[in-house]
């Protein structure tokens, strides 16, 4: 199973990918991740690769090949478009519809509208779940929980229950942050239920 996460530095892709790997490990699989850490962490495009399989030998390297991702979790629509070539034909994408301003684009006055990317995703990614991450953040009370909302929305696609994600979350977060993140996780899961969902028979997962 290959899951690619992409977004903008600071949105929490690293923690999200670690949680997926933790879930996979807890389920008895061997997991590998590769993340963008360091110079790109603030405001830059970031990508995390998460791979898991029953046999370590089946995933010898940490990077997902182009066209090899079973699922794509997009924290930002433009970044999701940028990484769409990683998605397998028929693979599922969970994407937050809210754009993040690029300071460079803002400077040149050339900031594209997030809707352009969302529209493209609707056409190009047949198995698509769109999530209003900003709305969930408002309800939960923190803009920093977008990652959990997306994980909640993607849990079923990845083959994990929200409960197992919550277990993984408890292992990796300090107790005082668990409640807030649990809320976001559940909001995300609920939202994906009401959003356009994947027909399991059509999806590759």
């Amino acid at each position: 199973m290959n899951c690619l996460l992409c977004g903008v530095g600071g949105q929490g892709t690293v923690l999200a990918s670690r949680l997926i790997a933790q879930c996979a490990m807890d389920a008895g699989a061997f997991a590998r991740t590769s993340e963008t850490i360091g110079m790109a962490q603030r405001g830059g495009s970031v990508v995390s690769h998460v791979r898991w399989h029953d046999h370590a030998g089946a995933i010898p390297s940490p990077l997902i090949p182009l066209g090899g991702a079973d699922a794509l979790i997009g924290f930002e629509p433009g970044e999701a478009v940028r990484c769409l070539p990683y998605l397998k034909p028929g693979g599922a994408a969970v994407v937050s519809v809210n754009g993040v301003t690029s300071a460079v684009a803002a400077l040149s006055g050339n900031q594209p509208d997030a809707a352009v990317f969302v529209d493209y995703l609707r056409k190009a990614a047949p198995n698509l779940i769109l999530l209003d991450g900003a709305e969930i953040a408002r309800r939960v009370g923190s803009a920093k929980t977008l990652n959990m909302a997306l994980l909640g929305a993607a849990a079923r696609l990845l083959g994990f229950s929200v409960e197992s994600m919550l277990d993984a979350l408890r292992k990796r977060l300090s107790p005082r942050l668990v409640e807030l993140n649990r809320l976001a996780l559940e909001e995300g899961a609920a939202a994906s239920g009401s959003a356009r969902t994947v027909n399991p028979k059509e999806g590759s997962i």
């Binding site: 110079m39 998605l87 300071a103 460079v104 006055g109 990317f117 493209y120 056409k123």
Partner: protein
Amino acid sequence: MSGKMLLMGNEAIAYGAVDAGVSFVSGYPGTPSTEALEAVARLKPPGAHVEWSVNEKAALETAAGAAYAGARALVTMKQVGLNVASDPLMSLNYVGVKGGLVILSADDPGPISSQTEQDTRRFAQFARLPVLDPSSPEEAYAMARAAFALSERFRVPVLLRPTTRVCHACSVVERMKPEPLVKPSGFVKGKEWVIFPRLSFEAKKRLVAREPELADAQRPFNFIEETRGDLPARIGIACGGIGAAYAREAALSLGLRCRILKVGASNPFPEALAVEFINGLDCVLAVEELDPVIEDGLRPLMDGVALRGKRDGSMPIAGELSAAIIEDALRVMVPALSLDGGKDGEPPPLSSSGDISTCGGDKGVGSAPSLIAAAALRPTEAVSGEEMERQPRLPLAVPIGGDAAAQAEGASPNAAADEPAPTPPIRPPILCAGCPHRASFYAVKRAAKGRKAIFCGDIGCYTLGNAPPLDMVDTCLCMGAGVTIAQGLKSADPDAHCFAFIGDSTFFHSGMTGALNAVYNRADMIIIVLDNRTTGMTGRQPHPGTGESAVGEPAPKADIGAILLALGVTSVRRANPFDIEEAIETTHEAMDETGVRAVIFEAPCIAVAKPGRPMAVDASRCVGCQVCVKALGCPALSFMPSPYQQGRIAARIDASMCTGCSICSQICPTECIQPLDGPKGGDTA
């Protein structure tokens, strides 16, 4: 003075550099290299800066700064010093130089006066840099001179690695006509001086792609010669450095007529010449001190011809060589030389040509390896300085790095889509909203406005100050090098105000060394410490200034200002970068002084400080002048269509990102940015 002189190898290198017009010389003492810088200091070339640096890293970085501005620069050290300088070296190969930069790294086989028996030629391979390996003081003179032109042609540092018996030997050296001292052309700003992952990716490819051209340019340093004995043998000696001198002597002593491959520039290995050399031989002996560099270069080319050297025990793996050691090895290889017929058994039959055949070869003359060019054995005279001077000096080439990468990154259409994918905006890493570095850069930029200034950056979050609109990082090489490069640049570009920006953690890492180096060598520059009380870029690790240990326990807290004063800086000022006027004024005060001055901008990283109340734009008063967005490049700031005036735009602040640092509010001409009322969260637009 010119003409013939008796010079020690190190002095010959000094003369070679001076005659090449060197104007910046730095180094750290270390046997067997020390006399080179001492000789330059005695010669006192007019207009040249000569310094003993605090260490080899500082020496290489200051010299790099001078070479960025077009000066010819020499750095001197011993081989273990190169370990200390390896941090700048391994990045400088990518960034490159404008003026010729030659690094004398003297090796010490034995070792006689060193901790290690390391081989600088290996370092050259590691860094993909040219390395010249003189076999005598006279050759050291010629190579030192020629190295500057080679460095300028390929825009990379060139290593010069003599060994003890060259450094500390004397011989008659004929000085050639000196080149006129070229006044450094000055520093020209460009993104090629700022190391970034993309630049390194492109630079590495370029270094490899240019290897054939480099090999061609290095041909004068590599040649085949034939010894003049009465006893011909189909053996060859491949040698470099002082080993070449011993090899010639051993052949002479034995009366052996054989082929010699002299490798004076081993990186990249001169393969075509080596194939020519091997052709028709039965056996080759590799003769070199320290590591089997030439031997390893030959091995894949041997095509069945036997190769002897360090790897089969024919030559000692450690310690110095001597002619006697080589004679012994040659006796084993050429049984006719030996009274007992050689260790390898029976004397081989004579060949039809009358040459004495040799042991070890598993093939005859007829089955010689195919040649790249069927050239006959060509005895070559040793390379002369004059010959080297004829090497072409090409104009400076190839702009480095660029935006191509960013442009190439666009989304490719997904197979499932019928239409091409819209191109997502370029999203390079940037300073966070509320980052105190943005305020510091902005303040210094304002303070230096209208004056010639060079801003040297360093490694950390604040490297991102290179991006527009701040554009405040003119150089970046490696940890701590901002301070030293600023010093070197100032030396070669004295009209410029030279600033060095360094973070608190980087200051402790290696900035203190550069600060002391600048003070000791009477530099004129301003050190700007960006003290955000953490190691930001890597994720908020504590350091000696935080008062906390790695495991979260209390630790002694170092005071950067006190350290700077103890190092001897002229003045230390502290300012809060978020008070823009105060920060500008403080910078002005420092600029009006001379010597090494320091300004410490103190404000914690947003990742360790509690955010303040976010700011909001009163769109009814915003005139859409865009000053805030275009001056600061804050990710929380953008434009939107003005809700009050048709066809106008207004600034917009993303309250979820804004930390309330207020610098946009301070620079807004209409004072339309004020703290947001009510609880944090939500969007103000």
